[in-house]
Structure formats: C-alpha cells, structure tokens
Symmetry: C2
Subunit: 388 residues, 2 copies
C-alpha cells in the first residue's frame, strides 16, 4: 500500500444555498483542484457522497453529473456512495484504496447535499429512512427520538441525574457555537449560553432545539494522491494514516444504545492501521448530530472512559486548548450538517487544522487529527486519521 496524501481541499459555506447539489459539489471541487495545483484532466476517478438527493431534488445517479459539471471526460469513473450521514467519509475510504493500491494516482472525493431546502420537518421524516424500514420505521422513531432514548438510558446507566446531564449536554452546544464563530464557512456563527439551550423548545424529551444540529445545504471535496506526487504539488500535504469502517443492524436490534459498538470496531481499525492510540490524537471532528452524540462519541473513540464524557465537557477538556479539542469547526451542531457532505467537511477542517490555517479556532501544534462520522440509527461509522 502506498502512503496517501491530501493535496488540496475545498468547501462551500454551509447554510442555505440557491445552487443545486451538483453545482455545490463543483464549487467545492474546483477549490480542491485549484489549491492542489492540478487540472481537472489530472483526475482519474471521482467519488461522491450523497444521502438523499432523490427526495431533495429528484436527483438519483448524481456522480456522473458532478463529474460532467467540472469537465471530466468519459473515461473517468464517477460513483455515488450512500451511507446515510456517513456517506462522504465512506467515500473517502473508497477513494483511499484506489490510490493506495496503485490503481490510480489522483482522485477527487467529496460530498454534497441540499437538505435545508426541504425544511426540517420533511428532512427529519426523510432522513428517518436511514433506520431499518421493516422493523425500525414502523415504530415511528426519528433520529431526535432515538437520541432522546439514548439520553435517558445514558443518565440511568451512569447514575447521572438528568438535569445535570442536560446541563452538560448544553455545554457541548455552547462550545461548538463558540468555535463556529471563528469559522467563516459555518452556518450558525452566534454564541449561545447554557440557558439558550435549556430555554429552547423541547424536540424529543430531553433533547431541546439547541441540542440538535440543523439541516444544511453544502458540499466539500478533497484531492487524494500519493505522498510523492503531493510533495511536488503543494507545500503542506496532509497524510492519511489510518482508515476504519464498520456496520451494525438497526438500533432496535442493539442491546445497549449508550455504546455504539460499530464505532468502537471502526476506530480500532483506524488506530491499528496508524499504529496510534487515542492519546495521540491532537484534534477531532466527530459526529455531534445531537449534543449527547458528541459525549457518547468521545467515549467510543477512547478519549474518555465510558460514562465520563459529560464530565469532561464540564471540565473544558474538549474545548480548544483542552485535553482533546473536539469539533473546532463548530461541528454538525453549529457549522451545519449537509448530510452527505458532512464527512468531507470534517476532513476539510482536519486538513486545515494540521496545516495550521484555522486562525482563531486553531488547535496549536496539531499534528494528528481524526474524523468520525456516524450514519443511520447507529448502524454505520467511518473513521479516518490524518497526520503531517
């Protein structure tokens, strides 16, 4: 296997866009291509993560149209990968193997989604299709409902009074909004307080509005190549040190939803490939679709003991400057969550962090970063470890 590098990255502003998913993808792709100092004709394959383009825009088979939009020719394979919210992280892992294997030298990978235009109620119903349609959906469960159940189970399992847990969950939102203030591409660049969260409308008890990430329009893209080529193209290549991915049955088939076993299996693969342990990670972008999801993820990735993640938030250990800065970009919570683009946007942030280009939200001296993306009802996770 060859060592794989990210030459350049691109990303649209997250929020509401008047562009189509294909056009947003092209915007991010052109930035990734130009900052990689390559031409579109150098690209040998493209991989597009997209969650629900059919419902959003009546667009199935989006990948060839993304390829055509940036002027790629007939012989360039273009494929769409769908793993619900993890779509583009899964796509990065696919792109990785084609270059690592020596089959291709330069490929483009990213994700795009127009999730905001549908409106939150319809988006919520549509994305609930990421649960098992035969057993899960019939119960009427949606993702807010699932994570609300998880919050109750978590509080009970670890003996944390629910008001205390809710306060700590609110602190996740406060931190991520704070980080997003310094991210020009973020959707919600506004500081909030714990009270903002606790006084916001109830969505699914105990989750309130500010415990939930928004739906967003947006796209992000990366150019993957070999170490050798990247060194010739750009000053600061960022390398992929490890990749992992796992799968699981629907949440209704899982015994204990406070531990997302598929994440534990996925991240172990990434750590093993990289020869690293959780203590080696300097910065992490992880899947905070709900505030509790961030807490649970920091435990599953090995940064804190199980049951200790909420305490760590309260102590400031996940803030920039803390033990392990989590979601310096603002995360899904405040940067936004254009489903199929989320994993690629996490990669965008980690690459920028490792290149030291994040200004006021920079994690000083970050050399190793990780992304973590969860899809469906705890059923698919992909992790990627990056280093310089």
């Amino acid at each position: 296997m060859r060592k794989i590098a990210i030459a350049g990255v691109g990303m649209t502003r997250f929020g509401r866009s008047e562009k189509s998913s294909v056009e947003m993808f092209a915007e991010a792709a052109v930035e990734a291509i130009t900052t990689s100092n390559i031409k579109p004709k150098d690209i040998q394959a493209i991989f597009v993560g997209n969650g629900l383009g059919d419902f959003e825009e009546g667009q199935v088979n989006i990948a060839p149209f993304c390829a055509a939009e940036i002027g790629l020719s007939y012989g360039v394979p273009a494929l769409r990968i769908e793993g619900a919210c993890a779509s583009s992280s899964v796509a990065i892992r696919e792109a990785f193997i084609w270059v690592a294997s020596g089959f291709y030298d330069i490929v483009l990978v990213g994700g795009t989604e127009r999730a905001m235009a549908m409106g939150t109620p319809l988006s919520t119903r549509t994305f609930a299709m990421g649960t098992d349609s035969k057993y899960g959906e019939l119960t009427g469960i949606t993702f807010p409902g699932l994570f609300a159940l998880m919050a109750h189970a978590y509080a009970h399992k670890y003996g944390i009074p629910l008001p205390k847990l809710k306060e700590r969950m609110a602190m996740v939102a406060v931190k991520n909004h704070q980080n997003a203030v310094h991210n020009p591409l973020a959707q919600m660049r506004k500081e909030i307080t714990v009270e903002t969260v606790l006084n916001s409308p109830m969505i699914a008890d105990p989750l309130q509005l500010f415990d939930c990430c928004p739906f967003s329009d947006g796209a992000a893209a990366l150019v993957l190549t070999t170490e050798e080529i990247a060194k010739k193209l750009v000053e600061k290549p960022v390398y992929i040190l490890g990749v992992g991915q796992g799968s699981n049955g629907a949440a209704c088939r899982q015994k204990d939803i406070t531990r997302i076993r598929v994440r534990e299996a996925s991240v172990k693969q990434a750590y093993d490939m990289a020869g690293l342990v959780p203590q080696d990670i300097d910065v992490c972008e992880l899947h905070d679709c709900f505030t509790l999801a961030e807490i649970v993820a920091t435990e599953g990735l090995g940064f804190f003991d199980f049951g200790k993640g909420s305490e760590a938030v309260e102590k400031g250990e996940t803030a920039i400057g803390g033990k392990i800065p989590i979601n310096p970009s603002g995360g899904l919570k405040a940067k936004g969550h254009p489903v199929g683009a989320t994993g690629a946007a996490q990669a965008y942030e980690i690459v920028k962090q490792l290149r030291g280009e994040c200004g006021m939200r920079q994690v000083e001296g970050a050399k190793v970063g990780m992304t973590d993306t969860l899809g469906g009802d705890l059923s698919i996770v992909a992790n990627i470890i990056y280093g310089v």
Copy 2:
C-alpha cells in the same frame, strides 16, 4: 494487483417478491456464501448496489442492514453504491479493488431492488430521476422517451427504414424471451413472436410494450476472493480479467445519442486490462433495457460496426450458437430488471456460463464472458470481463 476470482454466486428468482430488499439480498448472499464453501464470518466487507430503496421501501442506508441480516459483525464495512441501473456492476468493481489490492481476501458484493411493487407508472417516474434533475427532468423525459428518441436518430443516421428497424428490434425481444424460457430464475419465461411485439401497445413511439424491459423485484450476489483461496474453496473458480467504468453528462448534453461514448470508454479499459479484443468474448450479458439498447450496445462493445447491430440480430449472430451470443439469460427484457441487482445478475449468468452450468441455454465452450451495465441517461457504464 492480485488475480481475483469469483468463488460462488447466488440469485433470487426475478419477478414479484413478498420479501424486502434486505431479505432478498440475504437470500442471494446465503446462496453465494454456501456455494463458495465459506462462512459468513469469513466475509471482510460487503458492497450493495441499490437504486431507489428510499422510494420503494422508505429504505436509505440499506447496506448495514444487509450485513446484519446475514449475521456479519460490527467490524465489517458495508456500503451502498448507487449508479442508477449500473449500481451493482459499479459495486463489483469496488469490491474488486479491495481484494486485488491485498487489503481484503474475501468480500461479498451484490445488488437488490424491489422495483415491481411500486408499479410501472410510478417506477418509470421515479427512475427518471436518474436523468439530470436541473436540465433533463424538466423536459419531462423518461427512459422510454429517451430510447424512443434514440431509435428515430438511429434509423435516420444509418438510413434504415423505421419499419425495418422496428422489425429487427422486435427480433431482439423474441431472442431474449426464447433464452429466458430456459432460465428458471427469469421473470418472463414465455416465447413471443415478432408480431407479439409489433401488436403490443405503443409506449413511446416507436417503442412498443415488448420493446421495453419490465421492472422486477430481485437480488443477486457474488463472493470475490483471490485466485489462491478460490482454488482451495471451489472446483471451478471464475476470474475477473478486466474492469472498466466511465461517466458522462446527461443525455441532453450529448451530441449524438446513437453512440454511448461512456460505454466505449468503459469497455476499452476492460479490454486493455484483460489484454483482449471484442473477438475474444464468447458470451455477453448486456444492458437491453429496451430492444434498441441491445443493438446499440453490441456496437459500442465492438462486436459489430456502428449501424450494423440490427442487421446482425436479423442474421442470428447474437443468438445462442451465433457469432457472439448476447443475453443468454433472457437479459433485462425477459429475465427482468431489478435495477440495483441487474449488474450482479449479469455476473451470475456469466459465471454460470463459464462453469458450463446453463443447460438448454448454455453457450458451448464459453471461456471468456463480459457484462455491460448502463445507468442513467447514458451517463454511467461499467464493464467486467470474466474468464476461466
């Protein structure tokens, strides 16, 4: 790159099924697993082609549920690949690289679709989303409409009187129905005549009902492994000699829709990798979503000169026993077309043909076979060449 083998294959009967897409996938997968003489725990990753599960069953994120249904564990990556009708051929190519690269030794790949349950009118509208949503769909084009336009353009370009072309198109349907009679898994096992086609209802002038393939429920799956392992597992491994894939913008951006340029680019990759030419192919399963589509495909794949494909049908050159037997399984036309499963089902047939297990529809002495799968409005094609 390691030499890749198909150890075993599985396929459901095509037609109407009472099973869910996940359950159909499991049925095909279990047959592929058992005939490969492996256990589910030997599978290191799974790749699922699926076109429109969200509209069909409210099922996004189908791959992890397919993995769970056959008892795979957390650490097994499961991903869905969507390239419209070419979904599972694209998936086979993805599965190929993970094993060829040495990353995995044994993977499962297949496709599944429950397209019949929606009914043809809704299926037709839904699958039209495979065209470009911004420029193509607004014209009201559907796939029958697109191939109807192609038929007129083809007749005009090559100076073939439309009634003569229609008669030859009908002969494609007659041949494929004849082949399907001998395929116990085919949807339409009934002989028809040229008159059956020409007297059937008009769908999109000049395409009549029997020029069009049906929508179907069904699934198919393959176990991919290395040459070394396959030889230990089974008596008759079949090898992947070459793979190719290409992409193109929507048909409305293409100058001449009588030549599907993306196919020409794709199949060139497969021929080059295999070191073969069209004359080396003994049997081919190709994308006959409409009768004209088969004629055009036989030209694009290099079996006949451009404009000569319909004459070849009339001469019987594409029949079993002819110069290049096309669609001995019955093809999409008569075997059925469960969109995301079609490419895997083509692979199933070629593997069975090369193992000499096709009984009355056997192409005698077939040593090299090809699959060809087209997706969207002439925008994605994957080709795979198999050999023994």
